[in-house]
């Protein structure tokens, strides 16, 4: 990416490493009741792929690239928006159940 953050060699590996630990830590102490919304939520988060697809599409020069890029952005956008809607709908249901603060401990 021209003039953007350059990630080379070891710096990239450090980033992968730290991000992987972050993901591991975030999930490791989660009550079972939230597994489904969390899976849906992480599904939404990798919807950020739409940005990469957009970037690639804007730099496309041939017809084939444009077609693939169009599909990429289409699918990526569907991933992000759909993931968001589904997660919000799931989490909204927990509200109607009036979650008590002791709930996570009870379930574990």
């Amino acid at each position: 990416m021209d003039g953007q953050t350059t990630l080379t060699g070891f710096l990239a590996i450090y980033l992968f490493l730290l991000a992987a630990f972050t993901g591991y830590e975030v999930i490791s102490r989660v009550p079972a009741i939230l597994h489904t919304p969390l899976m849906s939520g992480s599904n939404f988060i990798h919807g950020i792929v739409v940005v990469g697809a957009l970037y690639a599409l804007l730099h496309a020069t041939t017809m084939v690239e444009q077609v693939i890029g169009f599909l990429g952005v289409l699918f990526g956008a569907a991933n992000a928006a759909g993931g968001y809607v589904v997660t919000v709908r799931m989490l909204r249901m927990f509200h109607s159940g009036k979650p008590s603060k002791t709930a996570p401990e009870l379930r574990r």
């Binding site: 990416m1 003039g3 990630l7 980033l15 992968f16 991000a19 992987a20 630990f21 972050t22 993901g23 975030v26 102490r29 079972a32 939230l34 597994h35 489904t36 919304p37 969390l38 899976m39 849906s40 939520g41 992480s42 599904n43 939404f44 988060i45 950020i48 792929v49 739409v50 940005v51 990469g52 697809a53 957009l54 690639a56 599409l57 804007l58 730099h59 496309a60 690239e65 444009q66 693939i68 890029g69 599909l71 990429g72 952005v73 699918f75 990526g76 956008a77 569907a78 991933n79 992000a80 928006a81 759909g82 993931g83 919000v88 709908r89 909204r92 927990f94 159940g97 009870l106 379930r107």
Partner: protein, 467 residues
């Protein structure tokens, strides 16, 4: 301009991780997804700033590309927004699978475009691009199959002979084409072959897996898409993409392992051993299925003091969660002690039953997990199993030849009386006989859960009226 773009990426990376963190507690979960959503909006809008960085040949194509990008965004967001709002709650798992597959496809698309646009990149970069493309396509087809299975479009697991051999050949072809790619780029035919093989491999791996294992498969595909996105983020030098993708990859992998552990099976066992093949050594289940009418079962329920309801996928399929809670409330009014026992892998996703019962308004205090409830079954008058099968199969405790041997189950068979509401006499998703159903203390109530529970409610009303 670069500074603005990079700040937006930074803010987004922070918001996504912080949002995910907040989502991991029931109290803050709703605000978590909203924060992550804001982050996504910021980064998507900011990505249009790339326009200013486009140079060279791509500049002449810019207006068309912009139009295409905008159109794709509007169509993608519009369709999934509309679909996501309309889909019933019981169909949520397959929607997650579908959207996840699309993310995988998008990662595959980025990989294809990068390979076509920069065939002369360094070998490391090419390798990572190709790896991301493979994982993305794999996740795409795997998720599509999982979606189709849960939608009921593929009713039976497909297990032809020599499937393992076929899988191996396809994988070999994919690896071979991937190795040949860097030297022969930009050869579009080879590229197409590579993506086709990756896609076929994902489908072939997923096809023979039974519906009961779909939660694990969806979770695995989710993790795979995350990793693919992380790889493509590296290729595009986009830190936010890398971080978000890798976080999801790691979190998803852990979630997959947790799920597999809840079923007491290794991941390799789920993916590569076909259910049913081990069935030859399975102990024969002998004895009669003893049907009973909903009215008669209701009469027993009326006089029971302590009851445990065990919901399964059948409850979700019949949309009967509200009826079940209505029944529980009715029985509570009669002074009975009613609890809901939830197996970690009941339904088609971990926590699937929690979500369903929460939707029906069941309070948390009534919902009890596997470890706490199992000691209570021996003192329970009636255990009511609604559309669950494998998670209450005592063969998991006793029959070493059974494919589910060793999986922790709900010890429903220890209750004084067991009623099982079931649509028909078929086997569960694992395709094995259930010794519970022929046990002496078990009676079968055949029918759609919604109708059966409705009849039970009516009968209880009549019985109480007569008192």
């Amino acid at each position: 301009m670069d500074l603005l773009l990079q700040s937006c990426d930074l803010i987004t990376a922070f918001l996504l991780i912080y949002g995910l963190k907040r989502m991991s507690s029931p109290v803050t979960a709703s605000s978590g997804i909203v924060l992550a959503g804001i982050g996504m909006m910021v980064v998507t809008l900011a990505s249009f700033l790339y326009v200013f960085g486009v140079s060279g040949e791509a500049r002449t194509h810019l207006p068309v590309n912009l139009l295409l990008g905008g159109l794709a965004l509007i169509l993608g967001v519009g369709w999934s927004w509309w679909r996501g709002h309309r889909v019933p709650l019981t169909a949520m798992p397959q929607m997650v699978a579908l959207y996840n597959g699309m993310g995988g496809a998008a990662a595959g698309a980025i990989s294809a475009m990068e390979l076509l646009a920069h065939p002369d990149a360094s070998n490391v970069r090419l390798a990572i691009t190709i790896a991301g493309g493979f994982i993305g396509s794999f996740s795409f087809s795997g998720s599509l199959i999982a979606w189709a299975k849960l939608e009921g479009k593929l009713p039976k697991p497909w297990r032809p002979r020599f499937l393992q051999l076929g899988n191996g050949l396809v994988l070999l072809l994919a690896v071979a084409s991937a190795t040949a790619l860097p030297a022969l780029l930009p050869n579009e035919n080879l590229l197409a072959l590579f993506f086709l093989c990756s896609f076929a491999f994902g489908a072939l791996i997923t096809l023979p897996i039974g519906g009961a294992d779909m939660p694990v498969v969806i979770s695995l595909c989710n993790a795979c898409t995350g990793i693919a996105v992380g790889f493509e983020g590296y290729v595009l030098h986009h830190p936010a993409l890398m971080i978000a993708g890798t976080v999801v990859g790691a979190a998803g992998s852990l979630l997959t392992l947790l799920m597999a552990r809840a079923m007491n099976r290794s991941l390799g066992n789920i993916l590569f051993s076909n259910f049913g093949e081990t069935g030859q050594e399975e102990a024969q289940v002998t004895g009669q299925l003893k049907p009973i009418s909903a009215e008669d079962a209701a009469a027993t329920l009326c006089y029971a003091r302590k009851m445990i309801f065990v919901p399964g996928y059948g409850l979700a399929a019949a949309h009967a969660q509200r009826k079940l809670y209505e029944l529980a409330k009715r029985l509570q009014e009669e002074g009975a002690d009613v609890k809901f026992a939830i197996h970690p892998v009941a339904g088609r996703m971990p926590g699937h039953m929690d979500v369903l019962l929460a939707e029906a308004g069941v309070p948390y205090e009534m919902i009890v997990g596997l470890d706490e409830i199992n000691g209570e079954f021996p003192t329970t008058d009636v255990a009511l199993v609604v559309g669950a099968n494998d998670i209450v199969n005592p063969a998991a405790r006793t029959d070493k030849g059974s494919p589910i041997y060793g999986m922790p189950i709900l010890d429903v068979d220890k209750a004084h009386q067991v009623y099982v509401i079931k649509r028909g006499q078929g086997k569960g998703y694992a395709g094995i006989e259930n010794a519970l159903f022929t046990a002496d203390n078990c009676r079968m109530v055949y029918g759609d859960a919604q109708e059966v529970l409705g009849q039970m409610l009516l009968s209880i009303k009549e019985l109480v009226g007569q008192r």
